[in-house]
């Protein structure tokens, strides 16, 4: 061996120690490092600190359910035939024997009844998809309400948003693959939406389906989109998302010792590796139990798709439910001119659909513009300390939920013994009114909570002890908060409303103020003016109250 004569560039091996004596693990590490240069990479990242909070694990739920979907999806591709050739079914599900169906549907039946573990894997795949989307929704809301989207994380917010939207469409294409009566109705719905596009709708539809709906192509096309195109993009985005999380470092809630320049928590190795690894198995196990217990998308009960059949209760999976709601509550308006029809009843919902999504996506940029804040933010806001943002978020969720109600209006009707027409009208009104109400109510609640925080800081916590003073008065003893608690409650910073400044200079010359500037000043006042926030207690106020002039 000539190792002693070769200098070790990585410096991993201790000098004077011969290679033969090094443990196997070290040897492997050394070998790998010499070729991959992982040492410096690992050194920089192994001790990466992550803060501890359950809500920071929502993103992990997304990641793990995504991995579960990929793993189970690979298994499903081994048995699924993405073909619309019509065949007669002779498998083991009796109520469909002898029926004509597409190969896609028949192979999904085979996966469910004749492939070992097929049904369980199918159900894990589908449940994980529902959980994935739901977890992304909640994760996104966590980021939104805590203001974690602020600089430098705007791009990562957009990556996350794109993942959510792509997840919706990956889910939709996957849901359509079995070619069952329910999903076929969903594809028909999509075709209707495409057809509603003025002028080019028909061409688009023919392009998408390779001719007249349903044709013989869409399952194969959706298949490659579902298993290759969209998951490929998503995987790339997930990696980019995670790299940015590493690069930006994780945000944390305010607290003693936590500043904008540090991260307080546990290192990636060994603590978070163990925790995250364990959590992966918990998520996998949990979803597997869910899939073993509860049925999802029982295509055998739905039957094969035929364009002449339809069932009531035909809804998409929940993440597409709001688009269903938009269509269901929209009046069936249409305009006819020169033999052409503009189906406004479908086209308007089709236009509102992206607007609903974009509204939440662009919010960070609107807020950044209003505040004009160029600094980095690594300390999270408590939702109450950003009442306008919180109000907007709740209004958006309210709109989303109202549309979900609209999408499930038939089930609301049957289960609560209501008229479906009344529900539809309720949704039409609530679409406009409920978000506004939600905004106002949320903002008031936030301001109330801010007042309570201020009260707690200045006067302490209500101890529940009632004291009778010598002259007969009863008072409740307030216990002063600890230094840490007071710091946490007052750590947030408050913006001042942006002002345009005098529009006339000292010479009496009027300065032109542009529209956007005026708008920004107005918005800023709404955000941070008197009605937008409660001024947090200052040290002077605190000193004055606690300086011993009796009680307040």
């Amino acid at each position: 061996m000539s190792t002693t004569t070769t200098p070790n560039p990585s410096g991993a091996g201790a000098p004077g120690r011969s290679r033969e004596k090094a443990p196997a693990g070290e040897k492997i590490a050394d070998w790998a490092d010499g070729r991959l240069g992982i040492y410096s990479l690992a050194k920089a990242n192994m001790r990466k600190i992550f803060p501890d909070h359950w809500s920071f694990m929502l993103g992990e739920i997304c990641l793990y359910s995504f991995l579960i979907i990929i793993l189970t999806g690979v298994y499903l591709t081994l048995f699924f035939h993405p073909s619309m050739n019509e065949i007669e079914y002779h498998g083991s599900y009796v109520p469909l024997q002898g029926q004509l169906m597409s190969e896609a549907f028949a192979s999904t039946l085979d996966i469910s009844f004749d492939v070992r573990g097929g049904l369980l894997i199918r159900q894990i795949h589908h449940w994980a998809a529902l959980v994935f989307l739901a977890a992304m929704f909640v994760h996104m809301m966590r980021v939104f309400f805590t203001g974690a989207f602020r600089k430098p994380r705007e791009v990562n917010w957009l990556f996350g948003f794109l993942l959510f939207v792509l997840g919706m469409f990956t889910g939709f294409t996957g849901y359509s693959l079995p070619d069952d009566l329910l999903s076929g109705t969903g594809v028909r719905f999509m075709e209707g939406a495409v057809l509603a596009v003025p002028v080019v709708g028909t061409y688009l539809s023919f392009f998408l389906f390779g001719g007249e709906f349903p044709g013989g192509d869409f399952v194969a096309r959706f298949y490659s989109v579902h298993i290759l195109l969209l998951p490929g993009i998503m995987l790339g985005l997930v990696v980019a998302h995670l790299i940015l999380v590493f690069y930006h470092k994780h945000t944390q809630f305010a607290g003693p010792g936590k500043t904008n320049n540090n991260v307080v928590g546990m290192p990636l190795l060994p603590v978070y590796m163990a925790k995250a690894g364990g959590f992966f198995f918990l998520v996998f196990g949990f979803i597997a139990v869910l899939a073993a217990v509860a049925s999802i998308n029982p295509i055998w009960a739905l039957g094969p798709y035929r364009p002449d059949q339809v069932s009531t209760g035909a809804q998409p999976d929940w993440y597409m439910g709001f688009s269903e709601g938009l269509i269901r509550v929209m009046p069936g308006w249409e305009i006819n001119f020169w033999g052409h029809t503009l189906a406004l009843g479908v086209f308007i919902p089709l236009m509102i659909f992206p607007l609903v999504l974009v509204a939440i996506a662009v919010y960070p940029f609107i807020e950044a513009w209003v505040t004009g804040d160029q600094r980095e933010h690594h300390i999270l806001d408590r939702p109450r300390n950003a009442p306008t943002r919180t109000g907007f978020g709740v209004a958006w969720i309210t709109l989303y939920m109202v549309l979900l109600v609209g999408g499930g209006n038939d089930l609301w009707a049957t289960h609560f013994h209501l008229s479906i027409n009344t529900i539809t009208w309720f949704v039409r009104v609530a679409f406009f009114v409920a978000p506004v109400l939600a905004f106002i109510v949320t903002k008031r609640i936030c301001l109330g909570l801010q007042r309570r925080d201020k009260d707690k800081v200045l006067h302490g916590r209500e101890s529940g002890i009632i004291k009778r003073l010598p002259h007969g008065e009863f008072v409740e003893v307030h216990e002063p908060l600890s230094q840490e608690a007071m710091h946490t409650l007052t750590a947030h910073e408050q913006y001042q409303p942006a002002e345009i400044g005098p529009t006339v200079d000292e010479n009496g010359v009027e300065r032109k103020v542009k529209g956007p500037q005026k708008l920004r000043a107005k918005l800023s006042t709404a955000y941070y003016g008197e009605d937008g926030q409660i001024p947090k207690p200052t040290a002077e106020e605190y000193k004055e109250i606690t300086s011993g002039h009796g009680h307040h």
Binding site: D52, H53, W54, F56, M57, L58, E60, I61, V94, P95, L96, Q97, Q99, S112, F113, L119, Q123, L130, V131, A134, A135, V138, L181, L182, M266, F279, L282, V283, F286, I287, L290, A292, V293, A294, S295, I296, P298, A301, L302, G303, D308, Q309, V310, S311, T312, G313, A314, Q315, D317, W318, G321, N409, D410, L411, A413, T414, S419, I420, N421, T422
Partner: protein
């Protein structure tokens, strides 16, 4: 032919033609008229009609009129047939409790004997479909797969894929078909109660009806299996989404809270 044409101006020719025409019409009628609609008035039958009339006067006449002619509160019962009575009263829908969008199923208050008497009376008002015999509705040996296809083509629009029910306009609804008696399924198809269209034998043959009943028996009864586990109401993606959010994500968040609460020991010591 010559003989016949020579006598065509005979004074009795018109009478002969008339007689022949009458005989042909009558013969065709007896040959093609649905035999079950013509009720033979035996003495047992007329007794049942009398009893039924008494029951009718107490339980039904206030809305349907004393002679079944109908009123503003209830439709005419002339020609609805015994099957309609057996269905409506046999499932407890009639007598109705209160006016509303739709009369729901409730506790049956008449015995089967009384229902038969009521049915006999209503059938006597005008010909209509008879109560089916067991061999007509018994799903034994019927084609389940064929029934499924027929069900998806004709019934699923309102009753959902496997007959879990669905909403109609203005508070009306298509009820769940879970554990509905095969006889009542048959009668409902035959007579089209409330908002349901009727499917007479010319539309859905007796065999078709049997197939549908067999399909429902296979997919939506106490004995039907759910290979995937809990059915979640069999209502499709809405209940699945709700379950996924509450138990799926809800459970995982609970797990996340549990994991996060277990911080590394180094912090505590």
């Amino acid at each position: 032919m010559k003989k016949l044409s020579a006598r065509r101006r005979h004074p009795l020719a018109a009478v002969v033609v008339l007689l022949l025409a009458l005989a042909a019409t009558g013969g065709l009628y007896t040959a093609f008229a649905p035999a079950d609609k013509a009720q033979a008035d035996t003495s047992a039958q007329s007794l049942a009609i009398d009893e039924g009339k008494k029951l009718y006067a107490v339980g039904c006449a206030s809305c349907h009129g004393t002679g079944g002619e109908g009123s503003t509160d209830g439709p005419s019962l002339v020609g609805v047939g015994a099957a309609a009575v057996d269905f409506q009263v046999g499932t407890g829908r009639m007598p109705a409790q209160q006016p509303g969008a739709q009369v729901p199923k409730k506790k049956v208050i008449y015995s089967q004997a009384e229902i038969d008497q009521l049915a006999a009376f209503v059938a006597s008002l005008g010909a209509g479909p008879n109560v089916p015999t067991e061999e007509q509705y018994n799903p034994e040996g019927a084609d389940i797969a064929e029934g499924g296809e027929l069900f998806r083509t004709n019934c699923a629009q309102c009753h959902n894929f496997t007959g879990k029910g669905g909403a109609l306009t203005n508070g009306k609804f298509a009820p769940t078909l879970e554990d509905v008696d095969p006889k009542h399924l048959y009668e409902a198809m035959q007579t089209g109660p409330q908002n349901m269209p009727s499917f007479p034998d010319t539309t859905l043959t007796e065999k078709n009806k049997k197939d549908i009943i067999a399909y429902l028996d296979a997919v939506n009864s106490d004995d039907s299996e759910s290979p995937g586990g809990l059915e979640l109401g069999g209502l499709g993606p809405v209940s699945e989404g709700l379950f996924g959010w509450i138990f799926g994500l809800g459970g995982l968040i609970a797990v996340a809270v549990w994991v996060a609460a277990r911080t590394a020991k180094a912090k505590k010591s």
